[in-house]
């Protein structure tokens, strides 16, 4: 396969990682703990989308392409589930805990197991897929460039671009976005300035849950929907967040694409096969942790 084709695949996979990483980074910086349940939160979103998708099929709506209102319904249903699950977990588990980052970290792993087991119980362990026709590579793109790009890949990258751009404007120019950045930068000073943690923390879970769910739906769209896929992608998302610098939303975006590219382009390294895609990403992550824990876009830690 050509290097450019690998890079294209990397951008697609990177888009999914970006969606997970931005949410995880939000929670890491404002909630102040690494949420090990974030991967399984994505899966919850993916299954939320699946329920809606199957429901549509049941009432006889048969999408002819992935570019369809059915996809929108699938995504929105996934988002709704992601948000509900994230916010409910906050109120039921994390908020009453009222403890330090390490206790939250360990608890979040318990939460991950709960999500995973409930999904597994509800949907079984076998892989599922969304009911959209699988089409081959888009002919015109293949003729022009020789690259295999499917409709699904196009949807994932375009939708991620829209989300990331919207997020940029919200964060940069809205007062809520500024408050979120302030709380992520310095939580104490944000409170001293009069920002209510309730508002930022709730926004963080809504935003984090929605982005995670979207990433989960796209992960399911890109490959298959499996109850255990959350953990596989979790460490890649951590790698992206750490590469970009914890708390830096833009860092998470950059880190997501970088890790996606590293994951898919591993075969370019002589003697290393695609089976080591994840390993290469983890090596990058560990190196960053050791030499520049603030991330490539983050501040030097003091």
């Amino acid at each position: 396969m050509s290097v450019i084709q690998l890079a294209v695949d990397g951008i697609v996979y990177g888009s999914i990682i970006v969606l997970g990483a931005v949410g995880l980074s939000l929670v890491y910086s404002i909630g102040d703990f690494p949420n090990f349940a974030h991967g399984d939160l994505m899966v919850a979103g993916a299954y939320g989308g699946l329920v809606a998708n199957l429901g549509l099929t049941q009432i006889g709506l048969q999408p002819t392409s992935v570019f369809s209102p059915e996809l929108l319904v699938t995504i929105v249903a996934g988002l709704a589930i992601g948000i509900v699950v994230a916010v409910a977990t906050h109120y039921l588990v994390f908020k009453p805990l009222d403890s330090g980052p390490i206790a939250l970290l360990i608890t979040s792993f318990g939460v991950a197991l709960i999500y995973r087991s409930l999904i597994w119980m509800g949907f079984g362990s076998s892989a599922r897929s969304y009911n959209f026709p699988r089409s081959g590579p888009i002919g015109s793109i293949r003729d022009a460039t020789g690259l295999a790009v499917t409709n699904r890949m196009l949807v994932i990258v375009l939708a991620t671009a829209v989300v990331v751009t919207t997020l940029h404007f919200v964060l940069q120019y809205s007062m809520l976005g500024k408050k979120m950045r302030a709380a992520a930068d310095n939580g104490d000073l944000a409170r001293i300035s009069g920002i209510r943690p309730r508002e930022t923390v709730l926004t963080m879970w809504v935003g984090g849950g929605a982005l995670a769910a979207m990433g989960g739906v796209f992960l399911g769209l890109h490959t298959l929907i499996r109850p255990l896929m959350g953990f596989d992608i979790l460490l890649l998302i951590f790698a992206a967040v750490i590469l970009g610098g914890i708390g830096s939303i833009y860092g998470a975006m950059l880190g997501g694409f970088a890790i996606g590219l590293a994951h898919e382009m591993t075969p370019v390294i002589p003697g290393v096969g695609s089976e080591y895609g994840a390993a290469v990403a983890f090596v990058i992550m560990i190196i960053i942790l050791l030499v520049r824990p603030g991330g490539i876009l983050g501040e030097e830690t003091t």
């Binding site: 703990f33 690494p34 588990v93 009453p96 805990l97 403890s99 980052p101 390490i102 206790a103 970290l105 360990i106 608890t107 792993f109 318990g110 939460v111 991950a112 197991l113 709960i114 995973r116 087991s117 409930l118 597994w120 119980m121 362990s125 953990f231 460490l235 951590f238 790698a239 750490i242 096969g273 089976e275 080591y276 994840a278 390993a279 983890f282 090596v283 992550m285 560990i286 942790l289 050791l290 824990p293």
Partner: protein, 346 residues
């Protein structure tokens, strides 16, 4: 500073009550035919292995405050070195004596622990958690894919059982070996915990800056706890390979790491007897879920997710309602207050 003498008799008393209770339950289960003898001995041997793992993690987390999310990798290192060095099916074709393999596994473990620990121990707790988990996954991927060395996903069968030379049957030997190993590690850890070394470790865990100002090299002490804990985990892995006779890369699932964490935090971080009790309860939970599906309300569920659910709920509940665990360490030097607080319990 006020040094309090732990009430050894009382401690052992309550621990043995819990263990005795579990053993009585097990006995009843055999008598009523719910369990076969061989399954019961398997359970005890398995518990023994988790005791070793929990003790190893307790050294790191409980004594040193070091987060290690690579428990399964150091355990797997032991299991794989043992399997590769002794199994008939090993691609390396060494077929060493298991005791020799054990020594080699420990050496590898020390080297690996130093290589991981040297750069990583200095990291902030959350970074260390993520870094060790990353390391664990890299190890798993290597084992799964370097087929010419590790036999890959096919796994390694034909590992000789523990100390075949002893004049007992396999089951008895298994139990004996893990009981002796567990007891030795337990006594050793208790001894060093109460030694001057253990006191320094407690100060470091409570206040690293204070320890440094007393002229103690916190980093060196933490490295020692990390290596010690990893070696104990590796020993558990070596034992597992000989006990089960087969290993493959699916054994290296990071989930195992979190099972061991449950044992430690349930028992009480920093408490060895807590780690022991935690390990037994963990095995009761992991294996007990098998039988839950016999009851009609759980009949529709398969064991796998039910087990995950129970472990997950257990983690959340412990952290919320009993973060100090069932047996909070009481022989603390630093916090006389916490001493009196836990006085009434257990």
């Amino acid at each position: 500073m006020n040094v309090t003498i732990p009430k050894t008799d009382h401690e052992l008393g309550s621990t043995s009550v819990v263990l005795l209770g579990l053993i009585v339950l097990l006995g009843l289960a055999i008598l009523t035919g719910a369990l076969t003898v061989s399954y019961a001995t398997y359970l005890i041997a398995l518990s023994g292995m988790y005791v070793l793992l929990a003790l190893g993690l307790n050294v790191q987390w409980g004594y040193g405050g070091i987060i290690n999310f690579a428990v399964v990798a150091f355990w797997g290192l032991g299991a794989y070195v043992a399997a590769l060095a002794t199994a008939r099916t090993s691609p390396l074709g060494l077929e060493w004596h298991p005791l020799f393999a054990l020594v080699v596994a420990i050496i590898f473990s020390v080297i690996a622990a130093i290589l991981v620990g040297l750069p990583a121990i200095r990291l902030r707790a959350d970074y260390l958690a993520i870094a060790t988990l990353g390391f664990s996954e890299i190890f798993r991927l290597l084992v799964a894919n370097e087929t010419h060395i590790t036999a890959g996903m096919a796994g390694l069968a034909g590992i000789p059982s523990v100390l075949e030379d002893l004049p007992f049957d396999t089951v008895t030997t298994n139990l004996l070996v893990v009981a002796v190993a567990g007891a030795l590690v337990f006594l050793f850890l208790r001894r060093i915990h109460r030694s001057p070394w253990g006191r320094v470790m407690q100060i470091i865990k409570a206040d690293e800056d204070l320890a440094e100002s007393l002229g103690k090299n916190a980093f060196s002490f933490k490295m020692q706890t990390f290596v010690l804990g990893c070696v104990i985990m590796t020993i558990a892995g070596v034992y597992y390979a000989h006990f089960i006779g087969y290993v493959d890369p699916t054994d290296l699932d990071p989930l195992e790491t979190f099972f061991v964490w449950v044992a430690v935090i349930l028992g009480g971080s920093g408490s060895n007897r807590g780690a022991v009790v935690g390990a037994f309860i963990l095995v009761a939970v992991l294996e007990g879920t098998r039988f839950l599906t016999d009851f009609s309300i759980f009949a529709a569920l398969s064991t796998g997710p039910l087990r995950l659910l129970i472990v997950g709920v257990l983690i959340v509940l412990i952290m919320r309602f009993k973060p100090e665990g069932l047996y909070p360490p009481r022989d603390e030097l630093i916090w006389p207050k916490s001493q009196t607080d836990t006085e009434g319990q257990s």
